[in-house]
């Protein structure tokens, strides 16, 4: 088990090092965040819709796009020079490969979220109050869920000709429970509801994460092994 973790961290470390070298994926995600910020602000009628009502939608659109960019990059990098073969040849358990890619994807999305969230709070005039810690927790739970499924799907999609199109099509239904849970919890947190009202949703998100991370880990060999 310790071996699996060590190897997963090795894979994740390699992914992040490579991404920081080229920075293309990260920059495109951050530029998109800025774009969403600007568009949402100027494309609304300020008297009809207050900025903070739109903030959660704008935020989740940005996070989702950041996730998709990360997911596309994860296995696309392994196609150049058939680098994936190098990973499959090594005495690397497939769980370690999956977890490593998952960790790298999560780190990537976390960076996008960490930059976008304060910006949006600022420009959309959202009053977070005491909700910040809870909000971060909710964002984390939801992100883990769909990135877990996205990681295994991107490994499949990358082998087809329309990878960038196929990945969102496959992933869309899987984003529904995390997004429903996240938006309901966000609304309740911002409205200052008591914690007892949120247990059901939190349990749902946590269960989703456990089930789909486990399942994706178990099914991953079927995707990469010929």
């Amino acid at each position: 088990m310790g071996n699996v973790i060590r190897l997963a961290l090795t894979v994740a470390g390699k992914d992040l090092r490579a991404e920081f070298r080229s920075r293309t994926a990260l920059l495109s995600a951050l530029v998109f965040a800025a774009l969403v910020l600007v568009i949402f602000n100027f494309a609304r009628d300020p008297t009809a819709l207050s900025a903070e009502v739109l903030a959660p939608s704008a935020l989740w659109i940005t996070f989702t796009f950041g996730a998709i960019v990360a997911l596309n990059r994860a296995f696309a990098m392994e196609r150049e020079h058939a680098a994936l073969d190098g990973l499959l040849l090594a005495p690397l358990p497939r769980e370690a490969l999956y977890l490593g890619k998952l960790l790298a994807n999560l780190a990537f999305v976390a960076i996008v979220e960490a930059v976008a969230l304060p910006l949006f709070v600022l420009f959309f005039n959202v009053d977070l109050g005491h909700a910040l810690a809870g909000l971060i927790g909710v964002i984390a739970l939801a992100t883990i869920g769909f990135v877990a499924v996205g990681t295994i799907f991107s490994a499949m999609a990358v082998r087809t000709r329309f990878a960038e199109l196929l990945l969102p099509v496959l992933l869309l239904p899987f984003m529904v429970p995390p997004l429903i849970g996240a938006s309901a919890l966000t609304a309740r947190l911002l409205a200052g509801r008591p914690l007892s009202e949120m247990y059901g949703l939190i349990r749902l998100l946590a269960l989703y994460d456990i089930v789909f991370v486990t399942l994706s880990t178990l099914l991953f060999p079927a995707v990469v092994d010929e």
Binding site: S22, D85, L89, P221
Partner: protein, 238 residues
């Protein structure tokens, strides 16, 4: 623990199909340390498929492969330890330097001092001065050398090569030959798969022809390649 005494590689009754097309129909192969086997075959004969099965990358439809007595299955990562692969792709990452690439490979194999192993591997192929270059900055010949360094970093007993001389000019090919003949005498077994016999001929101790999904010929390498060519053509045609 007793060191393993048997043959390095034993492949039994390997078969593999792609949909309706049967590419390999029953391959048996045994290899001892110190041998260099040249597998010749026309394009599309199934050479790459065979190599990928021997590397443990592909599951055979039937049969099995044992390396150092241990059966290759996807579920057993350690069985792959003694294997190294050089394909015509470098398996390297464009955004990392050679040293970073090799350090990563060393870590994947659980080597204790990965960075030192990386530097040593680069020195062994005379690429120490390019340690900080990325694969993008290298010529094809140098890239091939880097790929070999990567393949050898963990000291594999079995080295598999898929068309290693593709795209190399005469000088790079000569360097490669020099490298490989050293490795062969280092107690390893090599399998070189190619459709061009001339470049690899002198390296081989054994030569086989893959045709019709089977090994049509499997014998000790003797004499000049010129003398062999007609027999190769005949075996391929059959």
């Amino acid at each position: 623990m007793q060191p393993y005494e048997g043959p390095l590689l034993v492949a039994t009754a390997l078969a593999r199909s792609y949909g309706p097309h049967r590419v390999l129909r029953g391959i048996d192969l045994t290899l001892q340390a110190g041998e260099t086997l040249l597998v010749a075959g026309a394009n599309g004969a199934g050479k790459t498929t065979l190599l990928r099965i021997l590397a443990g990358l592909m599951r055979p439809g039937a049969g099995e492969v044992r390396v150092l007595g241990r059966r290759l299955t996807h579920a057993d990562p350690d069985a792959r330890r003694p294997i190294g692969l050089v394909s015509h792709q470098s398996l390297l990452y464009d955004d990392l330097t050679l040293e970073e690439n090799l350090t990563f490979a060393a870590r994947l194999h659980g080597l204790r001092a990965p960075r030192d192993a990386a530097r040593q591997a680069l020195a062994d192929v005379a690429l120490a001065d390019r340690a900080r270059s990325t694969p993008r900055q290298l010529s094809r010949g140098l890239l091939q050398r880097a790929a070999i360094a990567r393949a050898l970093i963990h000291g594999p007993a079995l080295l598999l090569l898929d068309e290693p001389f593709t795209g190399l000019d005469a000088r790079a090919a000569a360097t490669l030959r020099g490298l490989l003949s050293e490795r062969a005498s280092a107690g390893r077994a090599l399998v070189i798969v190619t459709h061009q016999l001339a470049e690899s001929w002198d390296l081989a101790s054994r030569v086989a022809v893959l045709a019709g999904g089977r090994l049509a010929l499997d014998e000790a390498r003797e004499g000049e390649v010129g003398a062999f060519v007609p027999r190769y053509a005949a075996a391929s045609g059959g």
